[in-house]
Symmetry: C4
Subunit: 303 residues, 4 copies
């Protein structure tokens, strides 16, 4: 609701074409606005696919001409879109420095920058390539087109404390697990063999070759991703890691259940129906309301 009101307030003044263009670009209620959204969606998806496909050597070498033309076509389209948004925004400057304004500019800039770059050597080629990869961030525009995006953003925003708590818990658990496993899988076996732990030249059997590596293992394991590129080899290491997995798994469902509980309680406190009070027209009564909480009038029976 607050979103719709803010939309109405963002309508620009000025000539009618500006208002009309604003409605087409920023709203999706009208047929023209809907068509604009679908076209933009297709353009974004095509563009992101292009960026991805260009990095496959065999495809890129055979089709570089058509890929390049396609890219220019899309860049010009996005440039027109950027210009139109600038033209019909209520406060063009405020739009230009906003999050979405910067994303829209970054959508077109890489291709132009690449045009003026001389591909003299490998290094500048790589820099150019990196800039061109920025076009993949066009996919962020999808977020703006998603109706539930605001609701989801709010849910994440309201759950941010829980997420930070979750991250701190994971950080503490990962540091301690990682150090323990480094000790068990690396320090103890070396001690048995009588090696100096910092001697780089000798053969290192364990995959837990440093604490950062062991912490990487702990993160991969506790989130149940489990690549298997780093696994415990010693019996005691397997025993400890099995214990850590079970402990981590039992503890991790607590913060994750927290978020679900938060969402469930918010859900159930939302009014389900739109029954308005016949006397004072108040809406947003709790789901099972019988009397208006404002004036005490009995609400209309549903049956």
């Amino acid at each position: 609701m607050s979103r719709r009101r803010s939309k109405a307030e963002q309508r620009p003044e000025g000539p009618p074409w500006r208002v009309l263009m604003h409605d087409v670009i920023f709203e999706s209620d009208t047929p023209a606005g809907w068509a604009f959204d679908v076209g933009l969606l297709l353009a974004i998806l095509t563009s992101v696919t292009l960026v991805a496909v260009e990095t496959i050597p065999s495809v890129a070498q055979r089709n570089w001409l058509i890929l390049g033309r396609f890219e220019w076509f899309l860049t010009i389209l996005f440039t027109i879109e950027y210009g139109a948004r600038l033209a019909c925004a209520k406060h063009p400057l405020r739009y230009a420095v906003s999050f979405w304004g910067v994303i829209d500019l970054l959508s077109v800039l890489p291709t132009y920058v690449g045009f003026f770059f001389v591909e003299s050597d490998a290094n500048s080629f790589v820099i150019l390539r990196s800039i061109r990869l920025l076009r993949a961030f066009r996919v962020l525009k999808l977020w703006r087109m998603m109706d539930d995006a605001e609701e989801l953003s709010q849910a994440i925003w309201k759950a941010r404390h829980k997420i930070i708590v979750f991250l701190i818990v994971v950080l503490v658990a990962v540091t301690i697990s990682g150090t323990l496993m480094y000790f068990v899988e690396n320090v103890i076996p070396r001690m048995t063999r009588g090696e100096s732990p910092l001697d780089d030249s000798e053969f290192v059997a364990s995959q837990f070759d440093s604490i950062p590596q062991a912490m990487y293992w702990a993160i991969v394991t506790m989130t149940t991703v489990g690549y298997g590129d780093i696994v415990p080899k010693t019996t005691i290491g397997k025993f400890i890691s099995a214990t850590l997995i079970l402990l981590g798994y039992s503890l991790i469902i607590v913060p994750s259940g927290f978020v679900t509980a938060e969402l469930t309680s918010r859900k159930s406190s939302e009014p389900d129906d739109e029954t308005a009070c016949p006397r004072c027209a108040t809406v947003e009564h709790p789901g099972e309301a019988v009397y208006c909480y404002r004036c005490g009038e009995r609400l209309a029976a549903e049956g």
Copy 2:
């Protein structure tokens, strides 16, 4: 409820054998209908097992005769079933073009097509094989036999917006993670070695050899599947992927908690008991309740 009513309406007119057959095939309330369902269940499971087992070379070569006879027996059974459904459906044509009608036809067609196919060369053999694999879709018939299928379909259908939001969030996250990891694991190491990024002939150490590959890695990682066929090798790559895993994991529990919250709220809004208090409309009274537990009003007698 709506399902039962629609069932009653779907009963065909005509001779009594048609009504009887309809009840046996389409309903499972009568003993005969239940026996038909169990028989069909066994036939489907046998048939799907046959399709699977035929693809194991050692088994298929030794038992092709018995497998083939079994297959013909099942095909004839399913043909009779298809014919019976056609015969006793209220609108045979409407059934034939419906989803389940097409599935039922596809259950029998492949064996007949294979019979008339001349296995002249490897190519036609493969086409034949592909058609025979279609018989695996008979497993879809299990769905029709599941009592809660409609409830589950509805739950998925009602949660479709949440699922689409979830997929868009994943798509955005996967594109950005994939591009970032491609840059870190592929472009930077090549730059250090002074290679041209598109030179196909040189040795490529990184498993992140293109953005689509990196996006495949991101999907496998963010859903915590974690095959381990593609893993970061560089220290910075491991650091970034550990961060991405943690971020992805914290963010992904939000939409997944959304679905649970949706289902929980739907569940709790279903009253178990239909007696409502005439004063305050509280439902969910204990079975033997006489007075409303909330406002003390006498409940309407049921008998």
Copy 3:
């Protein structure tokens, strides 16, 4: 509550020592009963550890004497326990053929059977070994000692329909995904190379060498276990499996959310407090009850 009553009913008649022994063995309210439970717990854990440790060749060869003696000590302990249970059960025969009676018998039988077995050749040794492994099922006795076991069993029992629906959904999804991936990863590449699909002698590159194998892959993937022993190699195979992972992941949270919703709704309908009605002494009022649902009396205010 119903459990306690049934316990009281199961008390045997007869001499006082039988009643006393029954209370020690079957109840854990008295100090002696508690001590018996803790002793049994330790004996079970030691016994299961023994079974596990005996299978490590290096440990077993060096310590076979002490392991064997320990085993006999535990077997005699469990035999005494079995005898005592038989002696003090109200209906000894009914206990002997019950689930727990059979488990208790299987706990001691393997050691005795092994004693009378002549270890003449490798085959009988293996059979003996298999019988000895049965002792690992002693771990099931832990289940009986768990206070919440009955609640958990009931929750699983009540959610059995949801679990069956879940398994059917997974079965359908796994069959179709497996067949699809077998087609994409095995049939298409062979077709391109012009091979006969059933020719066993030629080199097979794909790990999807049959539909059962592909279904094993689908189960490992959809449950997010993701071993990585079977992974798609072709580009189209990776694309399809990424899509299947996402679809599977979005669909699988629906039945899993179902179970959580079921448990949440059961939880919230449980009466939280023990407020008894001052007039008719009814307990088990809903948590927020103000009036007795039986006689309409106002319940005692808490503050």
Copy 4:
């Protein structure tokens, strides 16, 4: 609430500098207290990063001088912090033997111990190294700085019975699955080949080389980590493990849903608003409510 009161009670008597120092160190409400917290946070993170980085051989050898100086600087900082806590705690001795007091002491001890240790041989070097690793436990101090830590600790503490039940269920399932898979993957293939199961000298093909190993596999699999270092090789082993994965997955969502249900019910039983209806005791009225939405009774005026 109870936490704040206990804080007030923990304020030491004595000179004003002691009270002031106490507030800076133990509270974070004042600007000085907040600055102290942020400084401590940075010091902890730096220190833990140092411990981790020192274990990377290439980094440690090149930068041992600067790393050592940094370490001494942090150790002196933590020593001052430890002294200050001792000085301004209400009961210094009680603090010194408390959990956090021991952790604070262990934060500084390793560096001093390392200073007096003579690095004569590799063995003492390793012991020294192990002691230095203890500094990683400084990360536990983060827990104390987390506002929601107490709430989370309580949630875990209250869910401890569920977690123990969960662990017992997993223990039973893991023992039985492990024994079964050891039998299927190791004993049966050996039997077929006519080998003696305890003959260590012969080649062992299976990765399930003992029951503890098979139980490690079962834990890694049932928690969906799935490293892939141990996987079934035989057809029957794959079939059984796929079944176990599905069963385990269906059963494991029950205890995990338990925890979520527990948290959800606790959440929903916390009233947001304390105004209760005098007639029917309904709480959770909207903020501006005047009449009870359930029974129409006028709510008590608050002002």
